[in-house]
Symmetry: C2
Subunit: 199 residues, 2 copies
Amino acid sequence: MAKAPPADKRRQILDAAVRVFARQGFHATRVSDIADEAGVAYGLVYHYFRSKDEVLNELFVERWSLLLAAIEETDREGETPRDKLAAVASFIVDSYRHDPELMKVIIVEVTRAANSFGRTHLPEIRQAYQSIAKIVEDGQRAGAFRDDVAPLFASMSFYGAIEQLLSGWIFDLIPASDGDFEQAKELVVTTICDGLEPR
Amino acid sequence: MAKAPPADKRRQILDAAVRVFARQGFHATRVSDIADEAGVAYGLVYHYFRSKDEVLNELFVERWSLLLAAIEETDREGETPRDKLAAVASFIVDSYRHDPELMKVIIVEVTRAANSFGRTHLPEIRQAYQSIAKIVEDGQRAGAFRDDVAPLFASMSFYGAIEQLLSGWIFDLIPASDGDFEQAKELVVTTICDGLEPR
DNA sequence: CCGGGTCGATTGACTGGTCAATCAGCCAGT
DNA sequence: ACTGGCTGATTGACCAGTCAATCGACCCGG
């Protein structure tokens, strides 16, 4: 059997945590729930992580750094500002489509929990808003967008609109077929960009 | 001293709870914190409320019913769909300007905590989205808005954009002068409405 | 080829601290 | 003296985090 499966218990614990956090919420899950879901002893969670918080931490940082990287790459490679915003919206929506449980945890327990857990990560979250704001600002400089709105405000609205749609899917408030995902992307980009067009 | 001040202890407790919840977050506040802040004995909180949850409950219901009423009145009295959406945006932003602590609690602890506490209130929250969606739908029927977007999606984006701006103010991510409040209202209404205009 | 030694991974019973909620009674006003 | 708003010490449950013990892979010397 060679080395056999290393079984990477650490990963196993993280994946289990996503499932349990998504199902019960962070506060309502006991560390033992994570261990049980992972099929692992209670203490092992503490072998790999300093605390329950650190598990969520790790999940957030892993995912959010991908988002930040994606936004910045988009900014570098994209053609028009509208294209860039469309790519960002697409990335976020597709992230949800690809792994709804993880995105649910990120959004519900971190991004939208800025008062409790999310407070620690405000800088990283802010970074995303600012990267998007930069896209808007460049668009203004290039004359593609009207320049009488603060880029950061536009960025917050844009991100907020997307996140609200994700919330709608997460809590079954709006339909979630493939067509719906595409329609949502288009809606957000169109409304924001048309609204930002020079008068 | 006549009847003296009835001192309405119940109200006193609710007001204190707003301050403490805003400062520390719902989970991090102990019932004794509320009692202390209200200058009242621990047990009295339980004289007026069945549980700590019920205190937050009460705060949310009080405020949210005002919002629902405002949206529906706007819908009845407003002229154009755009006017109606502008009035809704204005109401929400002014609610924050008038009582930031209360709005912080409502948003952070209920509206954006749909996984824990907010779950109970999903129906009422959903009701707001649907009332806004109705405004959009009427606009579509009247030919003021393009009709190839689901009204509920537009409604969610609209509300999400506003709520994100409130979050930005709550957590000091964006400037909050009177001018900023007005600019934000205008931004949200303009972008959403222009984006919804028939092509 | 075997005994035994090392060390990290793994286990789960246990502890300490935290709070929500209770309840037995106090006292001011009538 | 009775009633009901009011008091705050107490209790009981819960759970994050600790830790002492076991396991098992691998190595080394005889």
